[in-house]
């Protein structure tokens, strides 16, 4: 009975959404703010990638909020997993698959790829204001690089938990500090500083690349920390 009522509810909801979608001016939506940003972004922010000027310029506070959400989620995972009783069950059959790497091919391939992944990640982060990409995407690549190392050698390689949390804190704090510096200069919070520089060069768009660097480090550390929490919890105790 519950299944049918749930089905009925969902189909009603879908129908409602379709009706609403039909009423919307799809394809010719008003672009008030959108057009204003497209016109003004080059002169106001100076980033060649318009998306970046929105993410870190016009809506910098939202990005700080998103970072905090990620941070909150990572903290919650850490808190809940360390409290739960999962690890007790896991430790029983601990000895069976101890000290096993993922085999020759995987281990060597990851060793080869690891530095390349780091370079790609850093490239995506530092060129976020010029080309598509940026701190979030590059941060994920960095986290993937480190998690690969752990995955192929589950027991031998471990990431220093303290280091991860220090990087994470440092990145978050520097994002805020860059914003507050503008405040102390009598401007608004997160107002871009340092001038625009030469358009579309690496040193352009003021503080935006620095902010993206902070975002990238934070996202990378956060995701790596998450993986670490999941990984160590199975093994520990």
């Amino acid at each position: 009975m519950t299944k049918y009522s749930a089905l009925l509810f969902i189909s009603g909801l879908v129908f409602l959404l379709m009706v609403i979608t039909g009423l919307l001016p799809m394809g010719h939506t008003p672009m008030l703010v959108g057009n204003a940003i497209l016109e003004g972004a080059k002169d106001q922010v100076g980033a060649a990638n318009v998306v970046t000027s929105v993410v870190l310029g016009y809506r910098g506070l939202d990005t700080l909020g998103e970072l905090s959400i990620l941070f909150a989620a990572a903290s919650v995972v850490g808190l809940v997993l360390t409290k739960s009783s999962f690890n007790k069950h896991a430790s029983n059959n601990d000895d069976k698959h101890d000290h096993h790497d993922s085999g020759f091919v995987a281990v060597n391939a990851i060793d080869l790829i690891f530095p390349l992944l780091l370079v790609v990640g850093m490239y995506i982060i530092t060129h976020g204001h010029l080309t598509p990409g940026g701190g979030f995407q590059g941060g994920v690549v960095l986290a993937v690089a480190f998690s690969m190392l752990v995955i192929v050698r589950p027991r031998r390689v471990s990431i220093n938990h303290g280091m991860v949390s220090i990087i994470e804190s440092f990145a978050g704090v520097s994002f805020i500090v860059i914003g507050v510096v503008a405040l102390f200069k009598g401007q608004s919070f997160l107002q871009p500083l340092l001038g625009h520089g030469e358009f579309a060069s690496l040193w352009s768009a003021g503080t935006l690349p620095l902010l993206y660097l902070a975002v990238g480090l934070k996202v990378g550390a956060e995701l790596a920390g998450l993986l670490l929490a999941l990984n160590t919890d199975e093994v520990a105790s």
Binding site: T29, P30, L32, G40, Y58, V76, T82, I176, F189
Partner: protein, 491 residues
């Protein structure tokens, strides 16, 4: 004035550094949060004086609206900011062992400050989401000792599902508004209300109301309330029922007052409010356990607040604000009291003799909750009913009948409970938890504030009326946030 953004930024800063500080000195990390909240209180007080009877807008990043994010500051938002700082200080987890919990409390307060200050729809969504994630964690991480870990996790998980569904609906509503108008700034939206008339606009409001309604304990989406409040410490229930629910209400009300001044929107809130009042009181009437009773009575009170906001214009805001403050004091106080006596009602026989003071404080709260003169609750309910009677339309009169009926039910169950308290103790009644607890002290403080406010009903109500008049006016809001007529002004 620009420095008021620190209200949001300082707690975030603290949340980020607490894990590192805790590695070097756990003591220091424990005190970081309260210190930040005290600084925030000072900031709020100085801003309160500076703003005076006017209001201010902060343009973040130096970008003028509507392209940038704006914080709007008036006495309404400052009042609630002050309450946030005070409430979080009161429930601060002094005995928690995990530093990550302090971080989550800091994130929760940052998100709360953002929710009352921001005047940008998407920014509001981000803070709402941050508030939600921080709340999941706090709920999951702090079960009370009697409840098994797993049931707290289950309650938190179910809450997560309901709340995420709510967040998606909220986001969908915001997306519809953006598609229709092309802007997210609430003041900018207020200048183009005509494009939000009609079914699509109304459905956007309904989606926002129901989405945010999950936190506001609104009628169809409040099934998490009793379960969650049953598994978490009472101080935390006081925070969630007293404060977090109000923040979601504020989000809905901002949209209603500034953008959706349509009769259909008011009717929607009225109906949802009435259903909430009736269903909440009915379940509370049958409850056998004090926390359950308080949870469902809280749902009913939130329903009452929605009824108040269905009165158009500044009057609705005035009465709703009074109701919110009253509910914060009373329900917050009751949950803090419940720290001392909880469990099955039958076991609380003879409590009054054991601890006459606790019983008296309890009585003060419930009498005001019921609306017995001369307690403040009476004046607010009277005001609400008088103003509902002034409104045309049958629905408003049905609402009056609903409120009166609900009061009867409320009286029945509250006095059933009070009678138990004053009965003679018998064999299986448990003596109350005599351990010194700070939350009981705060409950007494709340009762004292309630009693003192009884003497100053008229000045307080006048002051609230001034605040409401200023905050409910879209003209002031638009003029402050959009100082020059900007692009795309279609009116």
């Amino acid at each position: 004035m620009n420095s008021l953004v620190l209200l949001v930024v300082l707690p975030l800063f603290a949340a980020f550094i607490i894990p590192v500080v805790a590695k070097f000195s756990p003591k220091l990390s424990l005190f970081t949060g309260p210190v930040v909240l005290c600084i925030n209180l000072l900031l709020i007080m100085s801003a309160w004086i500076k703003v005076g009877s006017g209001s201010e807008a902060i343009f973040l990043g130096g970008f003028l609206p509507p392209v940038g994010i704006v914080f709007y500051i008036d006495h309404f938002s400052l009042l609630f900011s002050g309450l946030i700082a005070g409430m979080v200080l009161i429930v601060w987890p002094w005995d928690a062992k995990e530093s990550r919990l302090y971080s989550l409390y800091m994130l929760l307060s940052a998100a709360s400050f953002g929710l009352v200050l921001s005047a940008d729809l998407f920014n509001l969504y981000v803070f709402y989401e941050l508030l939600a994630v921080a709340t999941y964690g706090i709920i999951a991480a702090s079960p009370i000792s009697k409840v098994p870990n797993s049931s707290a996790t289950a309650a938190s998980l179910r809450y997560l599902f309901i709340s995420s569904a709510g967040s998606v609906m909220l986001l969908l509503g915001i997306a519809i508004i953006y598609t229709l108008t092309g802007t997210l700034n609430i003041a900018h939206l207020a200048t183009m209300t005509t494009s939000l008339d009609g079914f699509a606009g109304l459905s956007a409001f309904a989606l926002i109301a129901i989405g945010a309604g999950v936190k506001a304990e609104m009628f169809p989406v409040n099934s998490w309330v009793a379960e969650v409040y049953g598994t978490i410490p009472r101080q935390l229930s006081a925070l969630l029922a007293g404060l977090v629910s109000k923040l979601a209400v504020i989000l809905i009300i901002r949209m209603l007052l500034m953008v959706f001044q349509q009769q259909a929107a008011f009717d929607l809130l009225l109906v949802v409010g009435m259903l909430g009042v009736i269903s909440g009181e009915m379940v509370a009437w049958r409850a056998k356990d004090m926390i359950r009773m308080l949870s469902f009575s809280s749902i009913a009170q939130l329903g009452l607040i929605f009824i108040a906001f269905s009165i158009a214009g500044s009057k609705g805001l005035w009465i709703g604000m009074a109701l919110m403050l009253h509910h914060l004091l009373v329900k917050g106080g009751l949950f803090l009291m419940a720290d001392r006596f909880a469990g099955h009602m039958g076991k609380l026989k003879g409590l009054a003799k054991h601890s006459p003071m606790a019983a008296a404080v309890f009585l003060v709260f419930v009498l005001s909750l019921l609306g017995v003169p001369p307690f403040p609750g009476f004046w607010i309910k009277l005001l609400l009913i008088l103003n509902l009677a002034e409104q045309g339309g049958g629905l408003y009169h049905v609402a009056i009948a609903t409120i009166l009926l609900a009061t009867v039910i409320e009286t029945a169950y509250i006095f059933k409970f009070v009678r138990i308290l004053y009965q003679k103790a018998d064999a299986d009644s448990t003596p109350i938890n005599k351990n010194y607890s700070s939350s009981y002290t705060f409950a007494k403080l709340f009762a004292l504030i309630l009693l003192v406010s009884m003497l100053f009903v008229s000045p307080i109500s006048n002051h609230l009326k001034d605040i409401a008049n200023h905050s409910a006016s879209p003209h002031i809001y638009i003029n402050k946030i959009l100082p020059t007529k900007q692009l795309g002004d279609r009116s």
